[in-house]
């Protein structure tokens, strides 16, 4: 059954775990494998961490909106901030590129590798919206159904 959730929370590091657990709980209602759910958790964690670290420069008073849509064959998750925006999206998505020391520059790499689709919409001074889509691997889902 289709389902939609929307959650708004402060740009606090503690809320990174909250966001990924909410999405993992929603994904657990679907035919995803455990490995799919783990990948989804990493992608959401990266998207929300980016809002905190980059969008709001670690300020705790920003707001992050997490929305997710579940349908029969996919989950779509959007993570939106009203932070400073990304100057050069192409550069931000390059592996190992980061504007901060001690950051791996792997956030977008993980989002790209673990999801079927990644969209980044950003406006300088207005904020960023990252949309992640993960589809259910139908061969895996059928396999599990036939075992049940």
């Amino acid at each position: 059954m289709d389902n939609k959730i929307k959650l708004e929370f402060s740009s606090l590091p503690d809320n990174v775990a909250l966001a990924r657990l909410v999405i993992a709980a929603l994904a657990a209602q679907m035919e995803f494998t455990l490995s799919d759910v783990e990948e989804l958790k990493v992608a959401v964690s990266e998207a929300v961490s980016n809002c905190i670290i980059h969008g709001y420069d670690n300020r705790p008073d920003g707001l992050i909106v997490l929305e997710a849509w579940k349908s029969l064959d996919r989950i779509k998750v959007s993570v939106t901030d009203q932070g400073k925006g990304i100057e050069d999206i192409g550069k931000a998505m390059e592996p190992a590129f980061s504007t901060k020391p001690e950051r791996m520059g792997l956030g977008f790499v993980f989002m790209q590798s673990f999801m079927d689709d990644l969209e980044v919409d950003s406006k300088l001074g207005q904020g960023t919206m990252v949309t992640l889509t993960k589809k259910i691997d139908s061969s895996q889902a059928q396999l599990r159904t036939s075992h049940n």
Partner: protein
């Protein structure tokens, strides 16, 4: 979430429990960095047995400590990573720069023999 520290001769052993994300990465830095500086630690064994999740914040803090130790000729040894965590570490190329061991005991033996 928790960080336990102990010493085996001049090797610092850190056992991490919980999810190694932005929150725990900061805590890791706060606990480990003073030890590395004060005790002039050469080798750091990180036991990841209790870690159920890692993202790029967790990877960043490990890599940051790796770079610090490299300056003094030290090394990081990874012990007991569970499969989901091991997968992320492998995807990020960590085994190319730091050895992985199935047990903390094996890691400490390798440190002593190095």
């Amino acid at each position: 979430m928790g960080l336990e520290k102990k010493y085996d001769r001049d090797t610092l052993v850190i056992k991490v429990t919980g999810e190694l994300d932005l929150v725990v990465a900061d805590e890791f830095r706060r606990v480990v960095d003073p030890e590395l500086e004060r005790r002039q630690v050469k080798n750091l064994v990180i036991n990841l047995n209790g870690v159920s999740f890692i993202d790029s914040s967790g990877l960043g803090v490990i890599l940051g400590r790796y770079k610090k130790l490299l300056q003094t000729g030290g090394k990081i040894w990874i012990a007991e990573p569970r499969p989901p965590v091991r997968k992320i570490l492998e995807l990020s190329g960590f085994p190319r720069i730091m050895p992985f061991f199935d047990s903390e005991k094996q890691a400490l033996e390798a440190v002593r023999e190095a």
